[in-house]
């Protein structure tokens, strides 16, 4: 029999726990195995939210998560009355959103099972939002289950995490990711191997890279940047290229979608009606949506720059591997010669400094620093011998 847990890659250790919890939840008795609040942590791309959604499906599915029934399907697509999936694409989850969510969470389960709330970005809760949520987790409804996802346990308020059971996901192995790409997404083995390797266990990123020619080509451009830092002018040029490429990648997705969303909302308030314009409140709702879209696009650009910086970091990582005499575990095998010649021309301590500089730039970006200035500063550091 198929199971929703089949789609989780390299997470056998938590599947066992989750299956036990599902079984315990069916008995109707209180047990150690089932509890009302869980935190899923793991590096980006390890499948935190996939694991949480799969657990949600298993809890509400009559067959313990078959993945094929109506309940399983609707749970995944926001269509199930008892499953709430909170997914923000913006910068943060605000307290108003949490309060609104709490009014919905108070409903009794409509099918007599569980009411499941999956919060995919618990690390993006603002402080007041987290405190509003805390109240609900402290005094849980009898049939409500909270599934929070965050990169690490430290991203969740201590008062919240102390009330949750913790599940740590592993970064899936190179083979596991490659196999998923080949078997699930029908990607050619050569491409699957490349994508899995350069995306370092991030399944979503690997797939995106494998199926998008334009993404691969901009990655290629970005990977050449460390080799083009001959002068200060070149460093500034490289920073500009990086930001432009990342912004273009983010906007390609968002522009079209933003426009469609606004159109749909305006229509729902009756834009285009004759004899009378949009209904009262329509303009305000559109304005709010546009604000949300702006926050989302800031986040997408930021995420995309962050991805590019991680890619560049793999260049220096490989260089360091070569410098320390370990040439087998290279990520960017297609750039072997260039990396080897760079490694030969540069001392290993500077390589470490450069990796540190990249990580520092990423942290600054997450703290809302101006993307271009941050990248310029970084490139200047990388340009040093």
């Amino acid at each position: 029999m198929t199971s929703v847990f089949d789609h989780l890659v390299g997470q056998e250790h938590i599947i066992e726990i989750l299956e036990g919890a599902v079984a315990a939840s069916r008995t109707g008795e209180e047990s150690q195995e089932m509890t009302h609040a869980w935190v899923f942590t793991g590096p980006p791309g390890s499948g935190r939210s996939s694991a949480a959604v799969a657990f949600a499906q298993a809890l509400i599915c009559p067959n313990n998560g078959c993945g094929t029934c109506n309940d399983c399907n609707s749970a995944k697509t926001h269509g199930h009355p008892d499953v709430e999936i909170i997914r923000t694409e913006g910068l943060s989850i605000k307290v108003e959103e949490v309060r609104e969510l709490l009014t919905r969470v108070a409903w009794a389960p409509s099918m007599g099972g569980w009411r499941v709330v999956v919060m995919e970005d618990a690390d993006r809760l603002t402080e007041s939002a987290a405190n509003a949520l805390l109240k609900a987790i402290e005094e849980p409804g009898t049939r409500t289950v909270w599934l929070l996802c965050a990169p690490t346990l430290h991203d969740v308020l201590p008062t919240i995490r102390s009330r949750c059971r913790h599940l740590q996901l592993r970064t899936p192995s190179l083979e596991a990711v490659t196999n998923v790409l080949i078997n699930r997404d029908h990607i050619a083995p050569g491409m699957a191997d490349f994508a899995a390797r350069v995306s370092q266990g991030h399944i979503g990123r690997a797939k995106y890279l494998a199926i998008n020619e334009s993404v691969r080509s901009s990655r290629k451009t970005i990977m050449q940047l460390p080799l083009q830092l001959g002068s200060l002018a070149a460093a500034f040029q490289a920073a500009q290229t990086l930001v432009d490429l990342a912004t273009a990648e983010a906007n390609a997705v968002s522009d079209e979608r933003d426009e469609k969303e606004v159109e749909k909302l305006q229509e729902a308030y009756g834009k285009g009606a004759t004899g009378r314009g949009m209904a009262t409140g329509g303009a305000k709702a559109v304005k709010e949506l546009e604000k949300e879209q702006k926050s989302r696009s800031t986040r997408m650009v930021r995420d995309s720059i962050d991805g590019a910086l991680l890619d560049i970091a793999t260049f220096y990582r490989d260089a360091m591997m070569v410098q320390s005499g370990n040439i087998d575990s290279m990520i960017n095998t297609d750039m072997r010669e260039q990396i080897e010649s760079y490694a030969a021309s540069s001392p290993s301590h500077s390589t470490i400094n450069k990796i540190n500089a990249i990580m520092e730039a990423r942290e600054n970006l997450a703290r809302n620093s101006a993307p271009l200035v941050t990248c310029e500063a970084l490139m200047c550091q990388l340009a040093r011998k």
Partner: protein, 376 residues
């Protein structure tokens, strides 16, 4: 789709289903009102997933069909139309609304994405609409408004054969009302928790019908849905999860002092005296044989005092209440006189109604009010 209908039926129906439209829905389709003219009558429906409303009315249906239109706009238009027959026609992807010389066209929304709304559960009994509306309003006033304590935003509905008991509390006051109804099957009993504002809104809007039919699934059922219906109007609402706190033992059975006061002057006086303080600052009351004196504010701050007549039975007593909660209770008893029963200055007091100052108190509604501490 094409039909004509009189203005009243349409506006009434649209207003009813508009109540279920949310302002910030999860899906934009939920901002729409569905007009279904596929059968013998026209059915309007609206939903925010918690409550779903439908309105049925007779119309002269010339062409069958169904369509989803922007709900708020339809409501605003139907209200502004003159009292003349209205014709509604689907023309391609637009809906024409004409009445006399007024003409509107509305865009349509995709009906495919619109969720299937739940069916009205089987009727479990009926009650006179005004009794129901009064009872719900009397109780809903005491419900909490803090959505992070969802259980307390609800009204607890307990059905025991021929009696329905409603109760709500926000931890500072508790309102309990009993009334009789006509169950469809003898020996029926169940309980449910319904969001207070939903219940109050539904009850108030159904007073146009003589009777209201209630549908409460038995507690053992998987379907945690309640239904309310009157003439041509139905609404289903999801119940709240959680256990309502046991409250019966909180209601004191005996008292050391009872005071009877005329509601209107007392209420005015409470509001006047409370003017000098914040909403949460105690209003001090001193019940004596000569009258009850009200006092608020202290020391250097603004102060106010006032004395009004009281019929006192028992020991004199000093007590302090939140002025807003006291005013709510005085209004909710709904009688010319109020009886306040005390068991002590730091114990809860109970408000009940009296039609005559010397008559018996009406025990079917009790409003329990917690006293506040104050420094004297």
């Amino acid at each position: 789709m094409k039909f004509t209908v009189d203005q009243n039926s349409l506006t009434d129906g649209v207003n009813w289903v508009s109540r279920s439209l949310s302002t910030r829905p999860i899906k934009t389709e939920l901002l729409g009102i569905k007009i279904d003219a596929t059968g013998d009558e026209v059915i309007l429906s609206g939903s925010d997933l918690e409550t779903s409303s439908k309105a049925y009315f007779k119309a002269d249906i010339l062409e069958k069909g169904a369509v989803l239109v922007p709900g708020k706009l339809l409501a605003e238009i139907s209200r502004s139309l003159p009292n003349k027959p209205i014709s509604i026609t689907l023309d391609g992807t637009r809906v024409l609304v004409t009445s006399g010389s007024a003409k509107f066209t509305l865009p349509t929304l995709s009906l495919n994405e619109y969720p299937n709304l739940p069916e009205l559960p089987e009727t479990t009994g009926t009650v006179a609409s005004d009794t129901f509306a009064t009872a719900v309003a009397q109780v809903a006033i005491a419900a909490g408004r803090d959505d992070s304590l969802p259980t307390l935003t609800g009204v607890h509905v307990e059905i025991n054969e021929e009696t329905i008991t409603l109760a709500a509390t926000d931890r500072y006051r508790l309102a309990v009302r009993e009334f009789s109804w006509n169950p469809a099957t003898p020996g029926f009993s169940t309980s449910a928790l319904m969001r207070a504002r939903t219940l109050a809104d539904a009850a108030k809007s159904l007073v146009g019908s003589k009777n209201v039919s209630l549908s409460f699934a038995p507690t053992t059922s998987n379907d945690r849905l309640a239904g309310f219906s009157g003439d041509g109007k139905t609404m289903t609402s999801r119940m709240l999860d959680g256990t309502f706190p046991p409250y019966r033992h909180l209601l004191p059975t005996d008292s050391v002092t009872t005071a009877v006061v005329e509601v209107a002057p007392f209420l005015d006086s409470v509001r006047r005296v409370a003017l000098v303080t914040d909403k949460t600052v105690p209003l001090r009351l001193e019940f004596k044989d000569g009258g009850v004196s009200l006092e608020a504010g202290a020391g250097e701050e603004a102060q106010a005092t006032e004395t009004i007549d009281v019929l006192l039975n028992g020991e004199p007593i000093s007590i302090a209440f939140n002025p807003v909660f006291l005013a709510d209770g005085l209004q909710a008893v709904g009688t010319p006189f109020v009886q306040i029963s005390f068991t002590g200055s730091n114990k809860p007091a109970i408000l009940t109604g009296r039609t005559e100052p010397n008559g018996a108190s009406i025990e079917n509604y009790r409003y329990l009010l917690m006293p506040m501490r104050y420094a004297s």
